[in-house]
């Protein structure tokens, strides 16, 4: 486990440039998405097992921390997906290594491009939700 701390520290200290940044981001995004995925599957299954509970859960999702969390979730999924494609591509076409910096930057840019509209739309939802239902007050 101590190597986990070391990895985190050294990933920040080592001048590994794009590849390393892309990797740590991919890992964190993957794990984050997994966490959400697990929670989400469980609560969605309440539709069958415990419908009342499901309403509770959805209500919770409407709370401020979860709405903000949702912003991150979407970012994580988009980035993990785009970067995952890049990784698969590089493994499949080894000679692309010479272009690795450009491709990694491209993955960052594509993530931003895909995320920007999503972000705007979701912010819209958030503002709507808060002003319409007063959830913001909770």
């Amino acid at each position: 486990m101590s190597t986990l701390v070391m990895t985190v520290r050294e990933v920040l200290r080592y001048r590994g440039k794009e590849g390393q940044l892309a990797w740590i981001g991919h890992r964190l995004a993957g794990l984050g998405t997994l966490l959400f995925f697990v929670i989400h599957v469980i609560d969605t299954s309440w539709v069958y097992f415990w419908p009342a509970g499901y309403e509770h859960a959805i209500a919770l999702y409407r709370s401020r921390p979860f709405l903000i969390g949702e912003l991150f979730l979407v970012l994580a999924v988009i980035y993990h997906g785009v970067n995952g494609l890049r990784v698969a591509l590089m493994d499949w076409k080894p000679r692309l290594w010479a272009r690795q910096r450009e491709l990694t930057l491209a993955a960052f840019v594509l993530t931003a491009v895909l995320y920007a509209p999503a972000f705007v739309i979701m912010m819209g939802h958030i503002i709507n939700a808060w002003s319409a239902t007063g959830v913001a007050a909770r």
Partner: protein, 128 residues
């Protein structure tokens, strides 16, 4: 040299699966995000919505089932590699990996049962 060497097929397969499932998950999960978080939002989603506008259709149930299984296996295999990276103590490593596997089975089971078992609301079922 002598004999056929033994390959670790499992690791090879797991690695391949990560890439293949990743590519497959892309449309699934991006579609899912678009529907749930962009076109709709948690503000408009509730029990009613799930049961009446989504799971009423077999196609959507299948869609969600694919997502559940592909992403579940993908995510947990990812978790496995992370555990193997950082947890070196043999027992701790075993416990965590088996724990994660059991948990995965539980999650997949819950999700699958819900997908299969949730009845189609009568009002919809009776539509022509």
């Amino acid at each position: 040299m002598t004999g056929t060497p033994s390959y670790n097929r499992f690791e090879t397969l797991a690695w391949r699966y990560m890439r293949l499932s990743g590519v497959l998950i892309i449309p699934l999960v991006f579609g899912h995000l678009a529907i749930v978080h962009l076109i709709n939002s948690v503000a408009t989603i509730d029990y009613q919505w799930v049961v009446e506008t989504r799971w009423a259709y077999l196609g959507w149930r299948l869609y969600d089932a694919f997502l559940l299984w592909f992403a579940g296996l993908h995510g947990f295999n990812g978790l496995r590699t992370v555990i193997n990276d950082y947890v070196h103590n043999r027992t701790a490593n075993r416990v965590l990996n088996y724990g994660a596997a059991l948990f995965l089975i539980l999650v997949l089971a819950l999700g699958s049962i819900a997908l299969i078992g949730t009845p189609i609301p009568e009002a919809l079922a009776n539509l022509p």
